[in-house]
Symmetry: C2
Subunit: 326 residues, 2 copies
């Protein structure tokens, strides 16, 4: 099969399409013939050599895909060759075939094309596991999402809005603000022009954010704690702004608040399967009823994986950048 390989770390040019041995289904796995995969920020880190795949994972990038099941491993039940699926992966999506543990398979939601389904698993699992399962966002609560038009941002905005929360986002341009408001955000803060703490306090009449979903890490940590409401939960899922930040424990204590940091990729299989089951129960109905739509910025052929990475580096996109494999 063909796969995008990483002979050595580097810029987008480090991604090299090559002929490699076919993926094979182990026990409890299926092989998916990939129709499309999607680019995640973790892929950029992996390409630069900063995010090695977990033990046992494919060495190729790609944390999600859509496609058709072409082979069943030992002990697999409930799935058949030919089934159209999408899947959460621990790697290997940038390839013609990928082996997937059955707990990470999802049916393609009604109303979504097999192509566009490639961009759903990672954002749906990330947002559901952090905003719904971990932070327990409630009806009427205020959610602040940084990077409101990223893949994560567009999913978080739509899902939280659908669940009856009030969504505030930060974005980098007026065009992105418009896109975020159309997806259900109540407030879109242009972070280059306005302090998000001040803007969110104003938008919430001083209440603050009950939940913050953050991809900036250290750079935003002090202000994320400031913007929290009493009982607020800050969930850090990315560290684009650095790793070590200053935590004001007195403010955290006065608010009886918490800071969580999580990732999806390194979790043990049973935890991933539980998250996928939660997504199927809680997110797929929202997609099938049209309240949550896959937001796709563009689709490029797998051969242009480097260009796709450049789009994310430039942060000009709204929603997911997909790579079509077949």
């Amino acid at each position: 099969m063909r796969a995008v390989t990483l002979p050595s770390p580097g810029g987008p040019e480090a991604l090299v399409l090559a002929e490699v041995p076919d993926a094979v289904a182990g026990p409890g796995e299926v092989v998916v013939d990939v129709v499309a995969t999607a680019v995640n920020r973790a892929d950029l880190l992996q390409r630069r050599g900063f995010y090695d795949p977990p033990k046992g994972a494919s060495p190729y990038p790609g944390l999600e895909c859509s496609g058709r099941i072409s082979a069943l491993g030992e002990g697999v039940a409930g799935w058949a060759v030919g089934d159209e699926v999408c899947a959460l992966l621990s790697g290997g999506g940038y390839a013609e075939k990928v082996a997937v543990p059955v707990g990470q398979l999802l049916p393609v939601p009604a109303g979504v094309s097999l192509l566009h389904a490639a961009g759903l698993p990672e954002v749906a699992c990330t947002v559901w596991s952090n905003v719904v399962d971990l932070a327990r966002l409630q009806v009427g609560e205020h959610l602040l999402v940084h990077g409101g038009t990223s893949g994560i941002g567009t999913m978080a905005t739509q899902l939280a809005h659908r669940r009856g929360a009030i969504v505030h986002v930060t974005v980098g341009s007026p065009e992105k603000a418009t896109a975020a408001l159309q997806l259900g955000a109540t407030t879109a803060v242009l972070y280059k022009e306005q302090d998000f703490v001040e803007a969110v306090r104003e938008a919430t009449s001083g209440h603050g954010a009950d939940v913050v979903l953050d991809n900036m890490g250290a750079a935003y940590l002090p202000r994320n704690v400031q913007v929290l409401a009493t009982g607020g939960r800050l969930v850090v899922i990315g560290m684009q702004g650095g790793i070590k930040g200053e935590l004001d424990l007195a403010t955290l204590l006065a608010k009886r608040a918490s800071v969580h940091a999580t990732s999806l990729r390194a979790r043990p299989l049973p935890e991933k399967a539980a998250i996928v089951a939660g997504v199927l129960a809680d997110v797929w109905p929202a997609v099938e009823e049209g309240d949550v739509v896959p937001v796709v910025d563009r689709v490029l052929p797998l051969e242009q994986a480097g260009e796709a990475h450049q789009v994310l580096e430039d942060s000009t996109h709204v929603g997911k950048v997909l790579l079509q494999v077949s």
Copy 2:
């Protein structure tokens, strides 16, 4: 009535016994004629002017007491004049009488003297709300408690041990280590001689602490994050080592861990009542069955509140320092 007042902030000498107007029961409150109160570290902060009582609270120190109900406010049911009780207070325990919202009253557990019951409410509510309710310590999990022989430490050790967790504590002297081990701790780390991260890793075969109950704040933050197990919860309830610390988000994220900070005193009444109800259901049976005993370092008369504060300043005590009022 007589009460210990704070005419101006300062050292232990700032505590001045004076004649003040009697406490009066508001709606939903009772007056308790205080038999004893206990010294908490928050009282020392309040005395130094760093911890003002919450709005509506008594200006006098004292976050818990035992005594007898002497008057019922409007709408109080289920309690009678003469009932022996202990209570969680938002202030005012260093006095002959104190008004208490009924949600903060507890019966004196069978087998505990009315005097010794004065030292139970604050530690029981703090430990239960943080270790059981918030951090959800499970059977077989590892709990690290800093200050293992403090009032909080002695309660946390006994309660967690009773609930089937494995308890590790830090202490300042070999005598305190012996006391902690007698209360059910598996490991007592002499923090002046040994790094607690290394000691707890060794004691847990590399697993780390699933829950850390911390009173040191900033000074311990980096090492508390290091010592956490995967999925670990750090709960900060004191900041004796400073307020602003460095948080390593990469480590937190790799462990899918969390940092919480809480306090009891400023919570709204319904939250306090829910905690008191949890203590009655979960902690009182453990006390009545003898698995959790009130650990009392010494009892001093109310007139010696200053000396009692000095004992906590010197940190030579094991368990609670009580003040006998009548």
